[in-house]
């Protein structure tokens, strides 16, 4: 054999070996599929869900469920077994970091593609409702896990992080480490919930800005949400405005957002009157829920609060009523003003400059 033939044979061999070396990791990734892009967990394996942005789309496509919990970080600590127990459903979480109604509804559409949903639980906090109304996924570097384009799946199949980090971790959680499947994406175990912890995340501005109107994005998001709800009359929607700490209300007052926040709640109270499949709850004005020791910062509360809310919803407490909303919001406004002018010294005793 001359050198030409030998080099030709070398190239052929190199190509065959390369294909084999590339087939191995792709096979392993497709088999274990730690982001559930191709299938649900293998029989006998737990669903290990730790990285929401990478895993939610796959979860919605391939898991078995009849209810979805939608929202941002405020509902991540939910134990879905509680939802199952209270509402007799099998629920999965569809969480969008930072919150964006458009992205969350994108997830909801995705869920409807392959599932009939009995119930949808949607935590509609302010961040979600005033976010930009465009779907942001295409801008993300993990979009290959969200879209359905098989060509860009190579980024998943041949990925060192997936192969050497995610799959071993998935196996470890299925063998030697503890993992509760119902606590997907939960972060509470590494946080402290107390008044002191909350205060480390907030320092009041000394000046009070002029109150601003409700942003237009709220009305656009509301329209998007309503059209989604009316398109699915067979599903029961549990929409809930979550509790926030008094320090959050204080921050909103100082930032000039309080009046807009109250107007948003007022709008919400009537927005779904013509939607019989919507149950609307509001936990924003409850002394029980605004206790400072429930929070790790001004908005993020402990998992106990999540579960109490579901208990209240199950028992139809804290339902938002259009006929009493003005009175309720007046009371809340007075409470916030009183807090910012007096009670805040209970948090920051030396800070007289912070008083209104």
């Amino acid at each position: 054999m001359n050198t030409r033939d030998k080099s030709k044979k070398f190239i052929i061999l190199l190509s065959i070996c390369t294909v084999c070396f590339l087939a191995m990791p792709a096979f392993i990734v497709a088999l274990f599929d730690p982001f559930y892009h191709y299938h649900a967990p293998l029989p006998g394996m737990k669903a290990v869900l730790e990285e929401r942005d990478y895993e939610v789309a796959g979860t919605l496509d391939h898991f078995d469920y009849d209810a979805v919990l939608l929202g941002d970080s405020l509902v991540e600590n939910t134990n879905t077994a509680v939802l199952s127990e209270y509402f007799d459903v099998t629920a999965v979480k569809a969480i969008r970091a930072g919150g964006s109604n458009a992205d969350i509804l994108f997830y909801l559409d995705r869920a409807y593609e392959k599932h009939d949903l009995k119930k949808v639980f949607y935590c509609i906090d302010k961040a979600v409702l005033v976010a930009d109304t465009k779907v942001t996924f295409p801008k993300n570097d993990y979009y290959y896990l969200v879209d359905r384009n098989p060509i860009n799946d190579w980024k998943y199949l041949w990925n060192k992080d997936v192969l050497l980090k995610k799959i071993p971790l998935q196996l470890a959680y299925n063998t030697v480490l503890d993992y509760n499947e119902n606590e997907a994406y939960a972060w509470y175990s590494t946080k402290t919930f107390s008044k002191e912890a909350m205060m480390t995340h907030y320092e009041p501005e000394s000046d009070f800005k002029e109150q601003q109107p409700v942003p237009d994005t709220f009305y656009e998001n509301l329209a998007l949400l309503k059209s989604e709800i009316t398109a699915h009359p067979e599903t029961e929607f549990y929409l809930f405005y979550p509790p926030v700490s008094m320090l959050w209300w204080d921050s909103e007052l100082r930032a000039g957002n309080l009046d807009a926040d109250l107007d948003i709640i007022r709008e919400l109270s009537t927005a779904f009157e013509d939607c019989p499949n919507v149950k609307l709850y509001g936990f924003y004005n409850s002394d029980e829920y605004t206790q400072p020791d429930n929070y790790m910062d001004v908005v993020h509360f402990s998992p106990e609060i999540n579960h109490e809310m579901y208990d209240d919803m199950k028992n139809d407490r804290y339902r938002m009523q259009a006929d009493t909303i003005d009175e309720e919001l007046y009371e809340l406004r007075e409470k916030v003003l009183a807090f910012s002018s007096e009670e805040i010294t209970g948090y920051y005793p030396d800070a007289t400059a912070y008083l209104q």
């Binding site: 080099s7 190239i11 061999l13 070396f21 992080d161 050497l164 071993p168």
Partner: protein
């Protein structure tokens, strides 16, 4: 477009190879050259399309000046001066304007705003190439090339962004050679092997050491003596594998197209003196400065003192060429002084291994200056290296390896099962990595490995090794990083 990106490996390269050999197969040689130039411009414009205006403008003006120099011999000197000045002004505006403003602000206590111009990729490389072309035309060494040949030469994508700095007489005649237009299995195999080795050097070795270096420089305020030396050694390893990896890829890609590019590295860390080091490190840059700066300055023909001055000028310019910052000037000056030291034969060391050791130490220290973002960082690193302040930071430095997927399973397992042993494992890991790098550096370089593949008649084992390396590279593509010499 990066060589270590999927779009390049799986789309651009196969398409351009097919186009080049396909067009040549049908005898469309000129069209093939146009296709290669267009593909190279696409490769370049993929980074930022507006860069194309700059490079095309530069090529057109330089080509016109070369033609004019050849035609109007009486005005050749003025035309050369104009051309070289224009090239220096171009690079000056894009690379040095803000540096000049900062010097003016510091000296005159003014507060002139910076332009913050983004450095066009490869400008330092293609500007030198074109200055060489003008000078060769002036000296009567340049042949009468067509515009398409010249365009294909300057824009030839394997060498466009970070070298090697190829001269027109090296590459253009190869475009015209009919033998290079027919697919040659041997050349292709050699090129492919070289490309895979280069890609692996960059992605599997340089990026790994780069992780330690970046972590160390982020913690420059806390770093201790032992850690500073580890970071310095890691950076010298990273820089070599990064830049020589890129040069290997360039040579390999050219080989896949049937062309030969000049070598840029010859095991520089085996050098026994600084003079020797510069004959092995970035050889095409050394060649450029020797031919087009050192010799025109008088070289070594005008007495010792003038020779030393010329050496110092060359290295100061070399430092500035690498970047617009005082740290690069200091780095260049250090190497210039070390070259003079070598020439003067001060304290001649009898043993080669010892002089080799001191050469490496010098290079490592100088590279820390090269890597420092500013004088403050440089002083902090040098202080940590030379004024002893302990070793306690080493485990924290080594712990950065736990972020890497390669060591994730090991470090998480130790953390869970033997948490008390975690620091020991980190230290062991960093020791093993440095030892492995030392072994690789002392072994054969990539050019020698490719020669060995050919001499041993393309053994099966090498095909398997290379395929394994390619497999590892592909699974690392999602952690794409740019090449260090893109910044220069």
């Amino acid at each position: 477009m990066l060589f270590n990106s999927a779009i390049f490996l799986f789309v651009f390269l196969p398409v351009v190879l097919l186009g080049w050999y396909g067009l040549n197969h049908f005898g469309l040689n000129r069209t093939a050259l146009c296709f290669l130039s267009a593909a190279s411009l696409f490769f370049y414009g993929y980074f930022k399309p507006s860069y194309l205006i700059l490079i095309l403008g530069s090529i057109i003006i330089n080509f016109a000046l070369m033609k004019a120099i050849k035609r109007f011999r009486k005005a050749a000197g003025i035309l050369l001066f104009t051309g070289v000045s224009a090239n220096i002004i171009l690079i000056g505006i894009f690379k040095y304007l803000d540096f000049i403003i900062s010097i003016a602000n510091d000296t005159l206590h003014t507060d002139r705003p910076f332009f913050n111009i983004l450095l066009p990729l490869g400008i330092s490389f293609y500007t030198l190439q074109q200055i060489a072309g003008l000078t060769d035309a002036y000296r009567g060494n340049a042949k009468n090339y067509s515009f398409i040949e010249y365009l294909a030469f300057v824009t030839f994508f394997p060498q466009l962004v970070a070298g090697p700095i190829v001269l027109s007489d090296e590459l253009i005649p190869q475009f015209a050679d009919k033998n290079n237009r027919i697919f040659n299995y041997e050349k292709f195999t050699q090129g492919l092997s070289r490309f895979i080795i280069g890609l692996s050097k960059k992605m599997l070795i340089a990026d790994l050491f780069g992780h330690i270096v970046d972590f160390g420089f982020e913690k420059v305020y806390w770093i201790d003596t032992a850690s500073a030396w580890i970071v310095a050694v890691c950076y010298s390893i990273q820089l070599y594998f990064d830049f020589s990896g890129y040069s290997d890829m360039a040579c390999g890609l050219a080989g896949m197209f049937g062309f030969t590019l000049p070598e840029n590295f010859a095991s520089p860390y085996k050098a026994v003196s600084i003079d020797d080091f510069w004959k092995r490190w970035h050889m095409t840059l050394t060649r450029f400065f020797t031919r087009y700066l050192y010799i025109p300055l008088g070289g070594s023909r005008k007495g010792k003192l003038r020779t030393y001055l010329n050496i110092l000028i060359v290295f100061l310019v070399s430092g500035l060429w690498h970047g617009a910052a005082w740290t690069f000037v200091i780095w260049g000056a250090m190497h210039g002084i070390a070259m003079i030291w070598d020439r003067r034969s001060f304290l001649k060391i009898k043993y080669k291994w010892l002089s080799g050791f001191f050469t490496r130490v010098f290079v490592v220290v100088a590279f820390i200056i090269f890597r420092s973002d500013n004088i403050d960082f440089m002083l902090r690193m040098l202080k940590a290296m030379f004024i002893y302040n302990g070793v306690s930071f080493v485990p924290e430095l080594a712990s950065c390896l736990s972020d890497l997927p390669e060591f994730y399973i090991l470090t998480r397992a130790v953390e869970a099962l033997m948490p008390g042993m975690l620091n020991a494992v980190y230290l062991l890991l960093i020791t093993v990595l440095l030892a492995a790098a030392a072994v690789i550096l002392q072994g054969k370089n990539s050019a020698a490995i490719c020669t060995e593949i050919k001499e041993k008649n393309y053994p099966i084992a090498y095909a398997v090794y290379l395929a394994a390396l390619l497999g590892m590279v592909v699974i690392s593509l999602n952690q794409v990083s740019t090449f260090l010499y893109f910044n220069f």
